[in-house]
Amino acid sequence: MAEIAPVTYDSKIEGNVVFTQLDAAMNWMRKNSLWPMPMGLACCAIELMASASARFDIARFGSEVMRFSPRQSDVMIVAGTVTYKMALAVKRIWDQMPEPKWCIAMGACASSGGMYRSYSVLQGIDHLIPVDIYISGCPPRPEALIEGLLRLQRKIEKEPALYNQKKALFEDMAG
């Protein structure tokens, strides 16, 4: 009697295979390794540094690798007062970050200009770059930053990653 070849079921590899959607897999990889671009411009940067320290340890959520090169980072954390003198420099660094990229406005200053209703301060970094998460506080505690990061992760989970990645291609195909 001829042996039946196991074409549909292979017990040797079956336990190691996970079925998922491509989007979900991409998002899962992205959200758990968000390398921040630390745009520390004022006092909020101290709390940003604290959140990377042992006590708060943002490494638990995959964001410990502060990259001082925009080309290697995923999320820009604007921590501090954005003066008009600095504003275009922040924008330039943002433009150098590769897609996909996200932005967290940390603290009152980065979100809205904060207490500086003044001639010298940009009234919120969202005038120049798109912000995903605003964190309130002056300064926000490191826990608040971590909460913001977790919210960003939840936001990334729902993104149409593949579509965004190949947007031009899909739009071409649709005619």
Binding site: K85, A87, Y116, R117, S118, Y119, S120
Partner: protein, 188 residues
Amino acid sequence: MSHSPKAAISALESQFKILSKVEFRGETTLSVEPGAIADICLFCRDSLGFNFLTDLSGLDHFGEDPRFEVAYELYNMERGEWLRLKTRVSEDLPEIHSVTSVWPTADWHEREAFDMYGIRFTGHPDLRRILMWEGYPFHPLRKDFPLGGKPSEMPDVAFSAAAPLEGGPFVTVPSTATTKDREPRARG
């Protein structure tokens, strides 16, 4: 305790024209002629021992003439004596001689006074703006400059916009009233 330098003041009074002398809580302020400021400062340093310029700042007395004032805070490190010099410059010709050759630390202070008030310091080695960017068209600490700023544009360098004040500016008033009455509010 008074740190007023009596001997130094009388030496200055005999050497230079002093417009006015104000004593307040042990501090002495001498008003002097703007044209003589460099000579007076040199005299203060070399003959009176004021070897440290603690601060140099501009002031805007908007509505008065002469409009601007420059204040020099001098300190004698050996004797622990303070002296304040003030001199007025007019709006039409806001120019005064630099004291960078007397105290090199005046360099950045003078740049700040130039940046914020538009007072030009002649003889300064490098009179550029220090806080605002090169090409910013205003002098923001002048009293007739709005608190929220004015729009400006300097392509590829910086821009500025007027900040929304929502009924403000919110200002506090100096008084002995309670915190609730003193807190910053929109005061029309």
